[in-house]
Structure formats: C-alpha cells, structure tokens
C-alpha cells in the first residue's frame, strides 16, 4: 500500500525476526516459568537471576557475549555451524537469537506470575475426577494461565520488534539481512537530510506496536470469555 519496497523489506524482516524469536523462545520461557513457579530445587535463586540477566545487563554486553559464544569460532557458534550448517553471526537468524534472548526475561516473568496465580485446589479437584497429571496440565493449568501466556507473547514480541543494542552488536547492520526497524531508523539518522525516512519508519513502528497490543487484547477477550481476562 503506502510503503516503498525498501520499507516493506524492513518491516517484513522485522516481523520475521520477531516472529521466529518469540516462537522459539515461547517453549523455553514457559518451561522456565513453570520451573520457577512450581519447582523446588537447589540453585533456584541462581537460575532466577540468570533468566533475568538480559533485562538488567547493558544490551551491548549481551550482544558481545553472543558474539563470543555464537561467532563462527565461538564454542557454540562453531558447533551449530558444523552440525546444522547454520550460521548465526551477520544473519537474520542471529538477529532472531538476540531478540529471543532479550525477550526471554519479560516472557518468563509474565508467564510465571500467571502460573503462580493458578489455584492449586482447582487442579486437585480435577485429580479427584480421575485426571492424570498430563491432563490436569493441559486442561486446567495451561487454560487458567492463558492470559499470562498471551501477555508474555505480546511483551516478547514488542521487545523483539524494538531490539537494538544486542542485535547491532552481534549481527551488525546489513540491509535485507539484519537491518530491522530500529536499526534502519538508526542508520537513517546517520545520514543528513533523512528526516522524512526516519519519520516514516518511526510511524511504522508505532503502528506495528499498537497493532500487536490490540490483537493481543482481542485474543485475551476471547480466551477469557466467562471469567474476564486482560493481557496487560
């Protein structure tokens, strides 16, 4: 519609990176949230702190750690490359990894709170009716925690769309490959007389973020029918 091919490319890449980041982080985040909400094990405080680390660390440090760990000669990056033929550094896949790691703490936090809020006595009632642990999990725990799970997805998506510091450190600024919206805005700002481009890209960001919030609220209303649920 109103966007130029270049802008479409930037938006499409941003959505692809964020979508893949959230989709791959979701199971990890939910598992960690469940573990932190329900688990009792030594080292829980340490795991808790590690999960929230990307939230408090300067993003450029996270990016640098990714560079060391997931670069072509890094301990993880070299193996990922040898075993799966997957290169992360300077690729959109690396941008998705950076976005996913930055989104993880927010996703875990939202889901953990909602899992903690699930009434264990309701789960007990399901057990007395013959439900296995597996069935209790899927028919009681997950549906009751659903508003928080949706909130986690929205927050994670919003965080991924806006991810800048770790991404540019890890995968640089390559148009068409790693140049997501914030990086494109930053790049345009470096060029004199590009106010119009920056304004357009900034507006696109607002529309995308607003759209994500509205879609999530609609989803939450459908999921929360009969008991009233809000995502945020």
């Amino acid at each position: 519609m109103l966007l130029s091919p270049d802008e479409w490319q930037i938006v499409g890449l941003s959505l692809k990176v964020s979508g893949v980041a959230v989709a791959l982080t979701l199971p990890v985040a939910f598992g960690l949230a469940y573990l932190l909400a329900r688990g009792k094990f030594p080292g829980k405080i340490l795991l808790d702190a590690l999960v929230y680390l990307p939230l408090v660390l300067p993003p450029v440090v996270t990016g640098w750690l990714l560079l060391i760990g997931f670069g072509l000669r890094g301990p993880i990056g070299s193996r990922v490359h040898d075993w799966f033929g997957l290169t992360l550094i300077f690729r959109w896949t690396g941008a998705a990894l950076a976005a996913g790691i930055m989104a993880l703490p927010l996703m875990v936090r939202a889901m953990r709170l909602s899992i903690e809020a699930v009434d264990r006595r309701i789960e007990g009632a399901a057990r007395t009716l013959g439900a296995s642990d597996w069935r209790v999990f899927w028919t009681i725990t997950v549906p009751l925690a659903l508003p928080g799970i949706l909130a986690g997805i929205v927050l994670g998506f919003a965080r991924s769309i806006g991810e800048f510091g770790a991404t540019i450190t890890f995968v640089s600024n390559i148009p068409g490959e790693t140049q997501t919206l914030p990086i494109a805005i930053y790049a345009a700002l470096q060029v004199p007389g590009s106010d119009a481009i920056v304004t357009r890209l900034a507006l696109i960001s607002v529309v995308l973020s607003l759209g994500a919030l509205i879609v999530s609220e609609l989803l939450a209303r459908r999921a929360g029918v009969g008991r009233g649920g809000h995502v945020l």
Binding site: R127, T128, L129, G226
Partner: protein, 206 residues
C-alpha cells in the same frame, strides 16, 4: 464396611489430625467444630493430602497403607469429592464441568442429561460457573462428582454456602443420592440438625 480409617498427620509445629473409626453402610458424618481437621481428613481419603501413618480402606479396598507402602494416586481412588466451595472449573461451562470426569466412569448409571434433570440443573448447562448462585454451583458440583463414576462420595459441608431455602432443597437431594445410588458417603458438617437428619453413623472430632 464403608469406611475403615486410622490416620494421623502433623499439620504444623503444634497441630495434629488423628482419627480412627470404622463405619457401616449409608452416610457417615464427621461432626465437630471448625479447625478440628475434618476437611484435612477428607483430603487424606481423596489422596490430596498424605497421612504420616495409618491406613484408609473404603468399601473393602485399601487406598492407603503407610506400613504396606500403598498410596493409590488421587486420580485412581474413584472418589466423588464435593468441595465446600464447589470448586468448579472457571474456564469451562457447566456442561463441560459435568463432563470432565465422565471418561473415568466405567459404567454410567445416568447420562449427563438425566443427571441434569435429577439435580434440576438442566437450564444451567450453557452457563459459566461465575454466573451461578451458591446453590446452583453446589448442585453442579454434586453432578460433576456423581458423573465421574465414583465408588464413594466425600462431601465437605455442601450446605454451608447456601441460604436457608436452598439448604432444604440440596439436603433433600443428598438424601436421594444416599438412598437411590447406595454409595458410601463421608459427610463433613458442624451442624447437629444436618447430621441427625442424614447420618447413619456419626463420628465426633474435636
């Protein structure tokens, strides 16, 4: 013998629930003041709370025996537990609540619709639990427990949340369940009149 129970469990630094009784057919009432551990005892029979020692036998079957290492999981004790607060699943409509335990039932004495008619909840089937009154929710909870193919019933003050008019109605229902379905029932109450009217055996807790 309906219930043969001998259990004890520490509930904190200076609290303990300990009880021993055996009862015959019909409804067995656990009678006593609040805080005597009546609900804890029901939880132990249902398998939601693990006794420190002792045994629990229901209708001749051992569901828990600390000495013999028997502890049948909650899901396979075939208890029909009616909680004091109904405890319906808030994210499921009445119909889905009633259906939840039906897949366990090996033989169904009543279909869902027959049960709804029996309990007078047929008009509520498409409603959400939070839109029900206390009496309606309690009747749905009784239906949900009965449809799960229980071998015995555990009822925790099912009348406590109800106003006077509803009490008589639900009590009549419990009498019908007791007389027409013939299941062993363990019934918790702190109301003497209720106990006198319903129970064949009364176990006092203090």
């Amino acid at each position: 013998m309906s219930f043969d129970i001998d259990v004890c469990r520490r509930m904190g630094p200076d609290a303990e629930v300990a009880l021993r009784f055996a009862s015959g057919a019909g409804l067995t009432a656990l009678f006593g003041p609040s805080g005597a551990g009546k609900t804890s005892l029901l939880s132990m029979v249902a398998g939601l709370l693990r006794p420190d020692a002792g045994h629990i036998r229901v209708a001749g079957e051992t569901v828990f025996d600390a000495a013999a290492g028997i502890d049948v999981p909650t899901a396979r004790r075939f208890a029909g537990y009616v909680f004091q607060d109904a405890r319906l699943f808030p994210h499921l409509r009445v119909r889905a609540n009633l259906r939840y335990g039906m897949r366990r039932a090996t033989e169904q004495t009543m279909t869902l619709d027959e049960m709804a008619a029996f309990l007078g909840i047929a008009p509520l089937l498409d409603r959400w639990p939070r839109s029900l009154s206390g009496g309606e929710a309690q009747r749905v909870a009784i239906g949900r427990a009965l449809l799960s193919g229980p071998r015995f019933l555990l009822m925790d003050e099912p009348l406590a949340a109800l106003d006077h008019a509803r009490r008589g109605e639900v009590m009549g229902l419990i009498e019908r369940v007791r007389d027409e379905l013939g299941l062993p029932i363990l019934y918790v109450s702190h109301d003497r009149g209720e106990v006198d009217r319903l129970a064949a055996t009364v176990v006092e807790m203090r």
